[in-house]
Amino acid sequence: MSLISVHKLSKQYEATEVVRGLDLTIRSGECFGLLGPNGAGKTTTLKMLLGLVSPSSGEIRIGTHHIPEQARLARQTIGVMPQMDNLDPDFTVTENLRTYGRYFGLNTDVINARIPGLLELTGLTSKADSRIPTLSGGMKRRLTLARALINDPALIVLDEPTTGLDPQARHAIWSGLRRLIQQGKTILLTTHFMEEAERLCDRLAIIDHGQLIATGTPRNLIASEVEPQVTEIYGEMVAKWAEQHAGSCCDRHELSDETLYCYTHDSSGLLTILQNQTALRYLQRPSNLEDVFLKLTGRELRD
């Protein structure tokens, strides 16, 4: 049963088309990742799903609600963790949660009963009465996650939940999200971290220039889009080396500055050649989602 269905969604700002005919289906209880380079249309898509930006054309349905017409009703059962923390700096941790719960029209007893569990989930129990400016970046992020759960949402929307966090804080957010997935929540997240998407998401969509370019499970995407082995070769001489050998020993290769990426089904031939030289360093690894992402969206910098 699909919880979210998006059909031919488009958004145009004057001459630029930010989202172009996007189709998405997100099932109840799955963790769905929306990936794409900066400016691909991820945030605009999320805002349209929440009814905060009106689509130029297309249809959105969340549960039984049509968006944007019934967005207010739909948002009653959605929790949102925005890209930038927007906690209220004048309030304590608990007061932030309590005030936010009031925006959903929840009564104070219900909110107060939920707060200890949310603080426990996000590891903030000892910070219950702290003021926001005294929290670290990771704590603020976790509190923002706790705040998104105050209405016990069926759907949780996370816009780059771990951007700017250190590895410890990132793992803390991930373990929180995993517990939510186990509870049967539906999660929609956008991220730049392929590792995050690969760890958490059941299915993903990669979008670029406002269009869907691939969708599937992380494993299927890796299997269908790229070769299983990657050998990264570094060194000043790598361009010259690539001219001589890349064509014969790689199924596919990409040269980026002083790094050559060789994609292979069987890397034994390549490794033998590399072992018999000393000018170039190399790293052998299985291919991953980042390889898929870079293949599909290119290596050029985005704004």
Binding site: Y13, R72, L73, V80, N86
Partner: protein
């Protein structure tokens, strides 16, 4: 809050006693008493303006509190309406505080009548909150608000009759003043402090309400365009 109150009280006492000692009575009362009604309107206007401009802008643009609220079932229109009433509430508090000072100094002529200044303060608050929200909607940053204060608020204070009666001004100034909301606020509040029922009550309320309503309508349109694109 303290800044919005202390400033008009200091002006009222400083000018009231200082200039007042050099002056004959105005409209049958001491200058201090005349000025006290002006100070009430001035502080009421300032409270709503500061609240919607600086504090409102912080909530909208800097702390992104509005964005957080829009992710709940509330909408931008709900938020604007809340800001409108919150600004007016701050005005009500400032107006009431000045009124207490007026009572303390015994500047009012009829205590019961002066109580009517409180609902008027709320109306002034609504009007200037709405006007402030328009500025908020178009402002790129805090610096921008100085233009509003120097080009809109200050002339309005000087023309509207806060410090001296509008009737002493050249006629052109008087006709400009007749269109401004603060002038009408004063024409309600001053008689109430001086102990008589204002003339043309309906017209004064209507002018302020018209400024308030049209500003709020404009603020909604401009803010939607700013945040909901």
């Amino acid at each position: 809050m303290l800044g919005n109150l202390a400033d008009p009280i200091f002006y009222m006492l400083g000018f009231g006693y200082g200039i007042g000692s050099l002056m004959p009575h105005i409209e049958g009362v001491s200058y201090l008493s005349f000025l006290s009604a002006g100070s009430l309107c001035y502080s009421t206007m300032n409270s709503a303006s500061f609240e919607t401009l600086y504090s409102g802008f912080s909530r909208m643009h800097v702390q992104k509190t509005w964005e957080a609220i829009m992710n709940t079932p509330l909408t931008l229109d709900d938020i604007l309406l809340s800001e409108l009433f919150w600004g007016a509430t701050k005005s009500l508090l400032s107006g009431a505080a000045i009124l207490v000072v007026i009572w303390g100094l015994g500047l009012e002529q009829d205590w019961a009548l002066s109580l009517w200044a409180i609902p008027v303060a709320f109306l002034i608050g609504l009007t200037f909150s709405a006007m402030g929200l328009v500025m908020n909607a178009v402002s790129p940053g805090y610096e921008f608000f100085m233009y509003y204060f120097t080009l809109v608020i200050t002339p309005m204070v000087l023309l509207g009759g806060v410090f001296f009666p509008t009737e002493r001004m050249p006629e052109t100034f008087q006709s400009v003043a007749a269109c401004l909301p603060l002038t009408h606020a004063l024409q309600l509040v001053r008689p109430l402090i001086m102990g008589h029922i204002p003339h043309d009550i309906g017209r004064h309320i209507l002018v302020m309400a018209a400024w308030g309503a049209s500003s709020f309508w404009l603020a909604m349109g401009l803010t939607r365009r700013r945040l909901l694109r």
